[in-house]
Subunit: 267 residues, 2 copies
């Protein structure tokens, strides 16, 4: 099954648009638990509350080869019906992107990846050509530095628009396999609204709820498509570190459940 069909099925089954981001920061884990056991406990506690999981590669790579093993084991542990988005922010010239695609889609078996658009079309093709996989292109990110380039106005022929809008428009042109989505930060509800208007068919992966303080209601109002889908609301730290004691999994389940319901309130 392709990524977006799997996403739809899991969204319906779990009645959820919540994605749990797996950003296991060793310095924040409850004492005495291994990275892998922490991830497994979080997955066990939330698997009936999510539409997807999003492991963040940086937190595994900081442990080197062993981290990549844990990443692989974590992805294998996720129930097969739940889609996995590898948050990797990759993007390079063609033959290098091809090797990254092999790493993420074939070696790790993830269903989707996040990519950076800076290198343009031919840096994304090696990912999008995997027709059953999805490619979430960074569009407008939730950090302050988004203003440095993403919000700058670019001039092309007679048109003026922000770089992030140009990225969304190009992504639309490049979406011949219908497997592209966009990453848009939760702190930009009005930009999400205009992106939704121009791109009714894109799914937006939205980080920045919770630890990064986006306004959930505004995001939902702005970003849902006409069938009440089209959003993947990610929360990482708020859920993973709800408690840093032995009850962390219980606390994560409770926070995830609250967030799942809150999201559904606004659908």
């Amino acid at each position: 099954m392709d990524f977006f069909s799997q996403l739809k099925a899991t969204t319906q089954k779990n009645h959820s648009l919540l994605c749990v981001g797996l950003d296991p920061d060793t310095s924040l884990l409850p004492s005495g638990i291994s990275l892998l056991d922490f991830n497994k406990a979080i997955i066990d506690a939330t698997a009936d509350k999510v539409c997807a999981y999003k492991p963040n590669l940086a937190f595994f790579e900081s442990k080197g080869a062993r981290g990549w093993e844990i990443l692989q084991q974590t992805i294998e542990y996720i129930p097969r019906e739940i889609p996995v988005i590898a948050d990797a922010k990759r993007g390079d010239i063609g033959n290098t992107s091809k090797a990254y695609a092999k790493a993420i889609f074939e070696y790790l078996g993830a269903g989707a990846i996040t990519v950076s658009p800076y290198l343009g079309y031919d840096s994304l093709t090696p990912f999008t050509k995997y027709e059953n996989k999805a490619v979430f292109v960074l569009c407008l990110t939730s950090n302050q530095g988004a203003a440095d380039f993403q919000l700058q106005v670019i001039k092309e022929k007679d048109q003026e628009r922000a770089l992030y809008q140009a990225v969304a428009e190009k992504a639309e042109l490049w979406n011949t396999n219908r497997n592209i989505g966009l990453v848009v930060g939760a702190n930009y509800p009005s930009e999400i609204k205009s992106l939704r208007y121009k791109h009714p068919n894109f799914t937006f992966l939205v980080p920045g709820i919770g630890a990064q303080k986006g306004d959930l209601k505004a995001v939902m109002d702005a970003g849902l498509n006409t069938s009440g889908h089209g959003l993947i609301i990610n929360s990482s730290r708020q859920i993973l570190y709800s408690s840093r004691e032995k009850d962390f999994a219980f606390a994560a389940a409770a926070t995830a459940e609250t967030l799942r319901c809150e999201i559904n309130q606004y659908r």
Copy 2:
């Protein structure tokens, strides 16, 4: 010693501005040799001809955890005095970039990294704050897709300039630890010339010579700084796959030596 001092020392000792890119593509290796042994043979054959090595993470990640082990062993095998640039094209929000920096600088022990600027200032700070390490920011890349965004004209106040120029200008502002460099493709000699004029102190990491067909003489004329430095000329495939038979290391040494001398002719 910090990266740029190490680069200068190796450049002088080996009389070389040549960087060998370690992009070990299994499908192109001579038959019967392991990835690690291939890398070691290439390093043995070229260590007296280079100013730096640039392992490309994608080609290791496509082998998963075992690939990261080989990457670590490859970096460990490189003589300590030769600087290592991890070609990783990373860049994410602050706490994630921090984890990537830990992976590249602490776990792998690389002296420098390539990063993507799309997320702006706070995505780069976690890397640049390692004062002894260097951070090469993607500016103008050698692939066709560079035209999609990097060459677009952006308007800021009364100024109009290409996105890649804005990236270079911001990188200059952010260079408070004097440890930033730029990645500029060899196929853009006139852009390199104007970047050199505006940014006399930046070191440019230049891919695209060889397999990607940049014009070496034009690049050297345009990019050298007033002391005959400021360029790292990278070649990967042209050197690694000079021969795909048992004599591959001998052939790699010969190609690297030819390129080293050709580069020096134009200094």
